[in-house]
Amino acid sequence: MSNIKLGATLFCYGTEYARGQYDFEECVKQAAEAGAEGYEIVATQMIPSYPNVSEEFLGQVEDLRNKYGIGPVGYGANNDKGMMVDRNLTDDEMLADTIIDLKSANKLGCKVMRSQYMLSPEAFERLAPYAELFDVKVGIEIHNPETPCSPTMRKYLDVIKKTGSKHLGFVPDFGCFSVAPNKPQWIKALKAGVKEEHLQMAASMRYAGVDIEEARQKLMEAGADPAINEALQGMYGFVQFKPKEALPGLLEEFTEILPYCFEMHGKFHYLSEDCVEPSIPYEELLPFIKKSDFDGYLICEYEDELYCGGTEFTKRQLQMEKRILNS
């Protein structure tokens, strides 16, 4: 039996926050009003004394918990392997930084921490005893273009199984289940003067597995506006998509890692008034999770590629999730 709690990452309000329209309190308030039972905080985005948590910030977090009824449940860690001027961080150094993140997550009362695959499988393995010490479960985010059992993720799965640690696992980001083109990029391309037929043509080639350079050339030959390049880059990059027929295979992969998931990212890029995410198959995903033994937060995560703000969309996303899960 699953036990799905619904949360939101304050990252949803990243545009409002960056523009000074929302301060930290307003982000928490909005998440609460949208119906989140808890929130994820992206540490590098909203912790004032990052990577440490000051007593002052902790006090604010507690005040807001009293005021709006919700607190931090997930700590979004970044793994900044390229932060040094002349070389990548070593495993020793990445591990040390991640332990600082564990301390901060623990101080905030987060039981789950999202990490990224810049933290190598070897460093991830060495993290296990520290994650246990702080009692914070660390999940490697499975982010598009990775899939639950893509070769890179399989290395982490091996580590999780090898250590047997209940404190290592995954945070799948539903963007990895995309089975249709990303809507905001489509909108932006149209606005930039790209014709719909050329976008359709690009999507068809992507479905068919045509190489990006070949696709680019064919589009240029067909007279597409060069502004299509950004959308094309996305189709082969972080918002790539598979044909709908790939979904059963993806769910099979999902099944294999589900026992090791303690948080999920309900990624969304766009939600029209009918509350349908055009690229991510929520109607299939949510019933699938509901039937599973998943116990944890489904953190909705809006990626604001249109720079229009996430307030309205986040409300819709939580409504949509509730509707599907309760049906």
Partner: protein
Amino acid sequence: MSFAMRMKLADEILRKESVKDLYINGEKNGFEFDVQLAYYRGHYLSTIDEIGVLLDGEQIPQEAVTFEINGKEMPLYKLPYAVTEFWSQVEPAKIRVLKKGGVEAGDHEIELKLMIRVPYMEIGPDHNFMPLDCGDKATVTFTE
């Protein structure tokens, strides 16, 4: 590397209304302005690959420019090494420029060149990370 990401979440990176004359011993001898980090999250200053200020297209000597966050006024040369100095995206940095006699009255173009490595987006081997262009320019009017 020809492509560089831009993420201008806020309208102004270089804040026009923050531009001011800088006084030394009671006399104009430079100018200062605030700049916000143009990304959705903060970064260690050590992710800065390039930084510099131009006035009307002319480069200001690096030693005459400082960068302040968290109450620390730092020379530019230190920034790419500052692995413990975290720049929050909602806390603008203050840039100060020494210039003998200050800026003449009238319109002037201030440009900040600022290139950052996005340190979790590895795009190739050998320390190759997504470049982020956080620069900006603005034309402002200085008064007598």
